[in-house]
């Protein structure tokens, strides 16, 4: 698939892992949208999913477990000309990083958040994650997970997130299209991607997902918030894929820059002498 975004780094995922599909879809989307590697910043946390940025030739900030969103938000704010993607696992984004996810919804930064949702903690070897089914058995939960799974889509829609979608890593082409929509969307976009973990999740396997997922058709209106909430609660025999909700509203960057009335921060240059003389006037 010789591609501008090819990276030399050896991929450390298990053969057959759903992450490969997400990687292919993301590279495809970036290529088809005509981005060049220097324009793209991939921000991730820690986990199997969070290794993805190393497998794409682009700018990378592979930070702390759970903390990709604040980093991505700041990068985009400082340099709005960059395409900024925060990407990580379900544990990273919804567990350790849950608070940042929640508050990003309120701010509406123009970033895309891709969550590799394998419903398990992969890198730490198989504990229940926030999205694991109730009853999911692991070494840490031999009696089965006692909590309800988090519903990230309803959560996002409940706070009027700008763009909320669900993808499936087993369908690279459609996933790529969803990613393209998200990347071109102005405002916060979430894609929760169902991703089989062949090693630690023996419940939500490729076949399990395959049997249940279906795409929303054209009659579905993603602008209706209540309908979207209703749709987001659908989980079980049928799992909807596609854009569940969208609603344009001003982005964090728009608002910030309209306040400080400046060029994009990083391009405006800093005139230190000017700063200095302005500063000295401050107190006098």
């Amino acid at each position: 698939m010789g591609n501008l975004f090819d990276s030399q780094v050896e991929i450390a995922w298990c053969p057959g892992c759903g992450n490969f599909g997400i990687l292919r879809a993301l590279k495809g989307a970036l290529t088809e949208l005509g981005f060049s590697p220097e324009e793209v910043v991939l921000v991730s946390g820690i986990g199997q999913a969070a290794k993805l940025p190393h497998y794409i030739a682009a700018n990378v900030f592979n930070g702390l477990h759970g903390r990709s969103i604040p980093v991505a938000l700041a990068v985009k704010t400082v340099n709005p000309r960059l395409l900024v993607i925060a990407e990580s696992g379900d544990g990273c984004m919804y567990g350790e990083g849950g608070n940042h996810f929640l508050h990003a919804l309120r701010r509406n930064p123009d970033i895309t958040v891709i969550v590799h949702n394998n419903q398990v903690y992969g890198l730490t070897k198989g504990q229940a994650s926030p999205t694991s089914e109730e009853g999911f058995v692991s070494k840490a939960q031999p009696w089965g997970n006692l909590s309800l799974p988090l519903n990230p889509l309803s959560l996002a829609i409940s706070q009027d997130a700008s763009f909320v979608a669900r993808g499936f890593s087993g369908d690279v082409d459609k996933l790529k299209e969803i990613i393209k929509e998200a990347l071109t969307w102005r405002g916060f976009s979430l894609i929760d991607v169902l991703q089989p973990c062949v090693t630690f999740n023996r419940v939500n396997t490729f076949a399990w997902y395959k049997e249940r997922v279906y795409y929303l058709d054209d009659s579905y209106q993603p602008e209706d918030r209540i309908k979207a909430l209703e749709k987001s609660l659908e989980w079980g025999d049928k799992i909807p894929l596609g854009v569940i909700y969208q609603h344009q509203r001003p982005t964090f960057q728009d608002k910030i820059y309209s306040q400080i009335e400046e060029e994009d921060l990083i391009y405006r240059g800093v005139n230190f002498d000017d700063l200095f003389s302005r500063g000295l006037r401050l107190f006098t």
Partner: protein, 562 residues
């Protein structure tokens, strides 16, 4: 001339307004002002007070003895009456006649007088008027100050405040045979009054800081307010984060993207930032973090002062990495050290921690010629051979830094151990080289650090760090006046300790380490680095700053034992 005013009341009675008013009026009248704020962690009630000291020469510390005590309530009188000098003044409808052994006891009922203007909320301004009357200052500066700060509340409020001021003044005039101010000065417009939080914020603005993220926490919140109030003019993105973890990760993201970035908090928030501090170190992203100390452990005393976090910030975050720790001695130095912090954070690609405290944060200093000697270095992002190696293993440990999107370089930063390109590695030989590379910076960093302020003294040497400089200096001078030849060593750049520190300490008279903490944390650090004992220590941890007279007494006690 050196006069000390104390005004107290409960939260909500406007003590802070009094402090602002007196400080500004006195400064505009040409005096050097030094004021401290003492308040509780509540919005109404309780007890709070301000001390405003002023003189015709620069001041650096607060005194215990008071010339005028103005009491907006009874409690103020009970708590502070013992501090009034013989011949001093007590104002307020407080105490009882029997206690009036002061030469000047004026039982003014500020609230009643204020009601005469229409509302008892003007009581604090009545008190200001009374004090100005006793001092013998005309009301010109006061009027214009009231106009400024109450302008947004409308003409009527300004007028009532002016009336309140006059009523206060008029009440005392009959009793003032000679005004306290002997030397009148003409307004000296070059005098600047500023507090530590303003100075830290100003330092950031002057450094070209473009991104400031923080979560509110006393006593650091004033920095957020200050930078916000100038964000538009200076083009700074200011974002209040959802928590301190977000705050530091945002600042790191902004710095990675090329902006100068800072965050500030207090000890509890700094705990939450410890992991981010390590992230900045591992990704070699420049970062400036202010820890405005208050007494702990835990929530502790939110509105009080402390120097209890030194050892924590030196060791914060797991495993090892180099960092600078600075602690400005006053607002002027705070401005300079913040500029220096930004420069050094960028030069070495390391985190720099600035230790402030409630005392520094809230106290106001006056400067005639504010010296801002530091200049921000313009960041240098040149071009690099491709493919770009973010973590090129260099002799100095510092690798050339590129900014994403500003050129062809792909900038890969990683919190895992990584190779030169920034990709995660499990090559343990490379790990050793990378760890050495990072740690190597410390050697050059030590050379960068400036020696402590040092004034020799034959009898003893008072040692301190950060905000205690002024009070140590003044106590030292008083000792000298009493014939005790006291020297001073004062650290503003604490960590790493500079190379020549051993030499400096090789010929020092009886060292007495003065700290606003329990354990003597600087003393411990010196013991470790110098392998010398520092048994003489003066430690205070009641949440209040040292006052000159108190420190003097304690030094003498040590002198007896030492």
């Amino acid at each position: 001339m050196d006069l000390n005013l104390l005004v107290g009341g409960e939260a909500g009675q406007g003590v802070q307004t009094v402090s602002g008013a007196l400080s500004t009026i006195l400064q505009r009248s040409g005096y050097f002002v030094f004021s401290i704020e003492d308040y509780q962690s509540r919005i109404r009630g309780g007890h709070s007070f301000t001390q405003v000291r002023f003189s015709t020469t620069p001041l650096r510390a607060a005194l215990k003895e008071v010339d005028i005590l103005a009491c907006l309530n009874e409690e103020t009188y009970q708590l502070h009456r013992r501090r009034v000098k013989e011949g001093g003044w007590v104002l307020g409808a407080v105490g009882n006649e029997r206690e009036a052994h002061f030469q000047h006891f004026l039982p003014l009922n500020f609230e009643k007088i204020a009601e005469g203007v229409g509302n008892k909320i003007f009581a604090n301004i009545v008190a200001v008027g009374a004090i100005l009357g006793i001092l013998g200052l005309d009301l010109e500066s006061a009027d214009s100050y009231l106009e400024e700060i109450f302008a947004r509340k409308g003409e009527e409020i300004v007028e009532k405040n002016k009336q309140a001021l006059r009523r206060g003044r008029d009440e005392v005039i009959p009793y003032v045979s000679s005004p306290l101010i002997e030397e009148t000065r003409r307004g000296n417009s070059s005098l600047l009054v500023l507090d530590g939080n303003q100075a830290l914020g100003w330092g950031a603005l002057l450094s070209g800081c473009q991104f400031y993220s923080a979560y509110p926490m006393t006593p650091s919140t004033g920095i957020l307010n200050f930078i916000s109030s100038h964000a538009k003019e200076y083009g700074v993105v200011v974002e209040q984060a959802e928590d301190e973890i977000a705050a530091i990760n945002m600042a790191i993201g902004a710095s990675y993207a090329g902006a100068r970035a800072m965050t500030a908090t207090s000890g509890g928030g700094f705990c939450l930032m410890a992991e981010g501090l390590g992230l900045a170190a591992m990704t070699e992203t420049p970062l400036v973090v202010v820890d405005a100390q208050r007494p702990g452990p835990s929530t502790g005393l939110p509105t009080r002062t402390s120097q209890g976090d030194l050892e924590f910030v030196i060791h914060a975050s797991h495993d090892e990495f180099p960092r600078f720790v600075f602690a400005p001695r006053d607002p002027q130095e705070a401005i300079n050290l913040v500029i220096r912090a930004f420069n050094l954070a960028e030069k070495y690609q390391v985190p720099v921690i600035i230790l402030s405290d409630q005392y520094l944060a809230d106290s106001k200093w006056t400067y005639e010629n504010l010296e801002v000697k530091e200049r921000p270095d313009a960041p240098q992002f040149s071009s690099f051979p491709l493919p770009y190696r973010r973590y090129l293993i260099s002799p100095s440990g510092v690798s050339p830094r590129a900014i994403p999107g500003l050129g062809k370089a792909l900038v890969v930063a990683d919190s895992d151990e990584h190779d030169e390109f920034g990709h995660l590695t499990e090559d343990l030989n490379l790990r050793v080289e990378m760890h050495k590379k990072r740690m190597r910076k410390k050697e050059t960093m030590r050379k960068e650090v400036r020696l402590p302020y040092h004034r020799e003294g034959k009898d003893l040497t008072l040692i301190g760090w950060g905000s205690t400089w002024g009070v140590i200096e003044e106590a030292g001078e008083r000792l000298k006046a009493e014939g005790i030849d006291s020297g001073i060593i004062h650290f503003s750049e604490i960590y790493p300790l500079p190379l020549q520190i051993e030499e400096l300490f090789s010929h020092v008279s009886l060292p007495v380490v003065v700290e606003n903490n329990y354990g003597g944390q600087l003393a411990n650090l010196l013991e470790r680095e110098l392998k010398l004992p520092f048994p003489f220590r003066i430690n205070s941890y009641n949440g209040r700053p040292f006052l000159v007279e108190e420190l003097l007494l304690k030094v003498k006690e040590v002198g007896k034992n030492g």
